[in-house]
Structure formats: C-alpha cells, structure tokens
C-alpha cells in the first residue's frame, strides 16, 4: 500500500470508460469525478479531479481505482 504522503496521478481513457463508477466508490481520497459530457459510447465517463481541486486531498497512487476498473480505462503513475 502507498503511504499517504506519497503523490500519485491517474489517467482515464474517456472512450474505454463505461461509467460504472466503481473507481469513484473505492478511491480513498475522492479524487475521481463524473464527467459532464457523454463519450462516443453514450456514457458519462469518470475523470480525475485536478489535483488541487479537493481541498488539498490528492491522488496517492494507491491504484485501487485501476484494480477495480473492469474496463482497464485507468493508468496509475507515481511521482
């Protein structure tokens, strides 16, 4: 498991995402949100919050979102 201090980053492939929102349900720091716009498949995809958007809480690169993402739409990076 990643230490809280550690900084991470994710990318979400809009078109692969099917809007199941399992990632959002597991993210410890609530740094994933639902997009405002439909993708080509007609889903509202998930998207990462911009880092400083969540009163300081940021992605820690724990990869829980990617682990549960059925459609492998998430890639996780660590600084």
């Amino acid at each position: 498991m990643a230490k809280k201090t550690e900084r991470g980053r994710i990318t979400i492939d809009r078109e692969r995402c099917k809007g199941c929102y399992l990632c959002i349900s597991v993210c410890p720091n609530e740094v994933i949100i639902v997009s405002q716009s439909l993708n080509q498949q007609g889903y509202y995809p998930a998207e990462p919050k911009n880092d400083n958007g969540n009163e300081g809480k940021a992605c820690i690169g724990c990869a829980m979102c990617a682990t549960i993402c059925p459609d492998i739409a998430i890639e996780v990076y660590r600084e």
């Binding site: 980053r9 078109e15 692969r16 099917k18 809007g19 199941c20 929102y21 399992l22 349900s25 597991v26 889903y43 690169g61 990869a63 829980m64 990617a66 682990t67 549960i68 059925p70 459609d71 492998i72 998430i74 890639e75 996780v76 990076y77 660590r78 600084e79």
Partner: protein, 249 residues
C-alpha cells in the same frame, strides 16, 4: 519523473470489452491475463472459454483459444491437455455452463484429476441469454424464468458445485473468491495464480470459483451489485478455501 505502476496486461489484446458496465467478467479476464504474464506461460497457455457472455474471450486473450460447446469446456480441455501435457490449459466457464449443462463433464474431469485450471464465474444468472435462473441463483432472487423469485419447492436451491468438487479425489485445490472489492480482487488474483501453479507442478485438477457481479441482469448499478455480493451472495457462497491438498506452492 513519474513511473507507471498500473497498465494493461500483455496478454490482453488492445480491444474494448463488450461486457456491460461493471461486469465481473472484465475484471476476471484482466486477472487471468496478469497471472499468465507474471508466470510467463503466455506462450504455452491454451484457454477454453464457454458459451456464455465470455464466449467472445478470444477477442481479448492473446493466447490460443479453443471454443467449447455449452457446458463441455472440461471435456475439450481434457482432450487438449492429454495431447499436450506440457502446455497450460485453462477452462473459463459461467455458472450455467459449468453447474447446469456441464455438471457431469466438470465433476468427472475433476475426478480424473485432469491437470487443468478452471475459472468458474459465478454471477448467479444466465447472463448471455438474458437473465434466466442459474443453478447458483439464490432463493427468492428474481430471474426471467422464476416468477416471484427462485422457489425451493419449484426450482430447488442454489447448488454449491465447489463444495461438491471438494469431495472428489482428483481435485487438489478449490477456492472461492470474489471480484467485488479491491481486497477481494487481490485475493482472487492469488487464487488464480495458485491454480496455474498447481497445474504447472502437475498436481491435479484445480478450480477457482469467482463471485462476479452481473449488474445488467441483477438490475442494479455496478456499485450496488458489488455490495450485494458481500451482503447476500457470500452468505450462501462463502469466500474461502474449500479444498487445499497443496499448501504453499
């Protein structure tokens, strides 16, 4: 500089899954592909998917794939493995496929101790055909063929195939896992790994039963479906090692 710590496994083709949003098949596919990569058996792996929502698995797994008629994956896998004992053969089957029409083939392949790994996706429903009762559907659970929910007197109860296989000599490792949470997914991967290792060590038949959400036919959101597995399914299908004659491997 930042390094990528999670990305698509090598033995999945770069194709979007046709599975519904939040479908457990997608997660199970990824885990199997990850383990194949980690154990470096991609060049000797031969998969046998079922008739079921996973019938299109050949579009995703980048290993040799043998289509089996509905319920017959264990028999087809037996034929392949006996001809190529040095290859790694796995069957990937749904609950209807393995526990209804495929009951006999599964039990007898296990009883012969066929050196194959079986991944049994238990989503408690016939997904592909549109939500009919499966052998693993829970009492009271709705389906398109059980008006008023599954009834013990009319339909019988959920069948614990894994426990039955636990009684069979040729089966050396049987575990039930789930893919409805990060923790369970990580354990599921360990079980899949062990099943392949059991085969690599030529020890006998092994099976991993994977409790898996079918949001579409359960008529739930994916998040609800994952919760439902914890709150209801695991009461009837407890997550546990059902049989292990192998131990550490």
């Amino acid at each position: 500089m930042s390094k990528k710590i999670f990305s698509r496994p090598k033995y999945l083709k770069d194709a979007a899954f046709h599975y519904c949003p939040g479908c457990g098949h997608s997660i199970a596919h990824r885990l199997v592909a990850e383990v194949i990569e980690e154990l470096d058996i991609g060049k000797i792996a031969i998969g046998v998917p079922p008739a079921g929502c996973a019938v299109l698995a050949y579009d995703y797994f980048d290993v040799d794939i043998a289509e089996a008629a509905h319920g017959r994956a264990a028999a087809v896998a037996t034929g392949i493995k006996r001809v190529h004992p040095d290859k790694i053969v796995f069957a990937y089957q749904g609950d209807g496929d393995i526990a209804a029409i495929g009951t006999a083939e599964t039990i007898h392949a296990a009883n012969r101790g066929e050196r194959i790994s079986t991944f049994f996706i238990n989503n408690g429903v016939y997904g592909m055909t549109g939500g009919q009762m499966a052998p693993t559907t829970m009492l009271g659970q709705g389906s398109t063929t059980t008006p008023g929910g599954r009834s013990m007197i009319r339909d019988g109860g959920p069948l614990n195939l894994s426990e039955m296989l636990g009684l069979v000599d040729g089966a050396v490792y049987i575990e039930r896992v789930a893919v409805n949470s990060v923790k369970n997914i990580r354990n599921a991967k360990k079980a899949i790994t062990k099943s392949f290792k059991v085969q690599m060590a030529n020890l006998g038949y092994s099976m991993v039963e994977i409790l898996s959400p079918c949001p579409t036919n359960w008529k739930m959101t994916p998040v609800e479906a994952c919760k439902w597995i914890d709150e209801h399914m695991t009461k009837v299908f407890p997550i546990k090692v059902i049989k292990d004659q192998v131990g550490k491997i």
